[in-house]
Symmetry: C2
Subunit: 262 residues, 2 copies
């Protein structure tokens, strides 16, 4: 099984993209709702949680890990690679690769949680692959609570987005990385406010493409992971009403969430 974890339900945008691009590779999802959100916590705490989550997935039979949470990927990837001996894909590298491919003027914007932006991981990845690029970063800590409240069409959400995006717009970026798995749910609101000519990079879709390429190129573990009969399972560390609603909204169908104590 492919193991995938996130700080909560937002990472289900990644799970959904994988389901669509790699339909015969079932998932074990873990959403750490009891300790959500990660994005405003310290790197040390996020690393501790990421190790816990990966252990849980490995115990459940995961043979490949996808870190669906940008905050965890930006702070805990080296720690996980040190401690676990299995392939680990993260949600950041694919988005970085796509951003440097599509930009024309080399001005790339990044939006994300405080933890992700503070790690400067997108900046490092982009300037390493395309020296001379200019990367402009904007932490957007209120977007996750707004999405989790389901305030997707509310006027306040639009105003807050405009406030967050204004500095990036002024810099005339031509590419914007949605550096948090909740943000694809705001794509329709972000596009007109950042400017229609700016390309949006959806990290959920980017990582699903990378996974498909990886599986095509690696018979081991791809053959073990290919289980067209098996069903994906979704575990959470806390069961809340809004979690079930958001999961159903992302998948377009009801999703059974199984509660576990980790």
């Amino acid at each position: 099984m492919i193991g995938i974890f996130d700080s909560g339900v937002g990472g289900m945008t990644v799970a959904r993209a994988i389901e669509q691009l790699c339909p015969d590779y079932p998932l074990i999802y873990f959403g750490d709702i009891a300790r959500t959100p990660y994005g405003s916590k310290s790197p040390e705490t996020i690393q501790r949680y990421a190790v816990n989550n990966t252990k849980f997935l490995v115990d459940q039979g995961a043979e490949l890990i996808v870190i669906a949470c940008n905050s965890a990927a930006s702070t805990a990837l080296p720690t996980l690679n040190d401690q676990f001996d299995l392939p680990i894909l993260d949600v950041i590298t694919p988005a970085v690769q796509q951003a440097v491919q599509v930009t024309k003027n080399g001005k790339i914007g990044i939006i994300g949680t405080r933890a992700t932006i503070k790690s400067t991981i997108y900046e490092q990845g982009i300037t390493a692959r395309r020296p001379g690029s200019k990367v402009f970063s904007q932490p957007c800590p209120l977007l996750v609570p707004l999405v989790e409240e389901g305030w997707l069409g509310k006027r306040e959400t639009k105003m807050i987005l405009r406030r967050y995006l204004y500095p990036l717009r002024r810099r005339q970026i031509d590419t914007l990385v949605l550096g948090c798995t909740h943000y694809p749910l705001l794509k329709q609101l972000i596009a007109p406010r950042i400017g229609r000519r700016v390309q949006l990079i959806d990290s959920s879709i980017a990582v699903a493409h990378t996974l498909r390429t990886f599986l095509a190129g690696h018979a081991d573990p791809a053959e073990k992971l290919y289980q067209p009969q098996a069903k994906s399972r979704f575990f959470v560390s806390d069961l809340t009403e809004t979690a079930g609603q958001l999961a159903a909204h992302i998948f377009g169908r009801p999703i059974t969430l199984e509660k576990v104590n980790v």
Copy 2:
């Protein structure tokens, strides 16, 4: 020492009120920043965290506990009373008492997190003490993130407050309980939007008054807790930048936060 816990930094409004009303009774504060917020989590998870936090405070020498977090008080007080043999004050009962004293028309509004509002604990307390009262409740899940971002004067915060308060205003309440320890920081914005004639009940101040009365009436444990030479200590389960800033804002001076793993 008086032990006091909260899901994060908001409960420091309680600690500050106690410091002002009971200055010779030092505190051990614990803010569970690594797992904040509690208000959107399930009762079961909140109870588990409340037991952990109380154990930590008892291990540090606490002989009386103040639950400064409304979400924890509304869901975990019976559990804590079962498991610990020491006096436990909560932030809800004093606010309920004050609300029924000051209301004239018996129409009382409550604002709080989802967990607090869903517990209906304020409603139960008020109607038990003043039968015939009408209680109107409004969950305000976005206020905690807005306060934690320091968006105290921003236009979006005012709009969101207006949206949350409008249904209560329509009901012509004459008393509004600020049922979350973060909300006193928004008092100046709430007052004009709910209407100047509505009395605001600040649960932080109410619980500090109750504590002072309790200490005056109970030589045991008051004599043990009276330690004019000792200093208060502030522990947190995660250290973040915004936590230190918010603590300093609440106390009006720098506060040393000590990180512990619980």
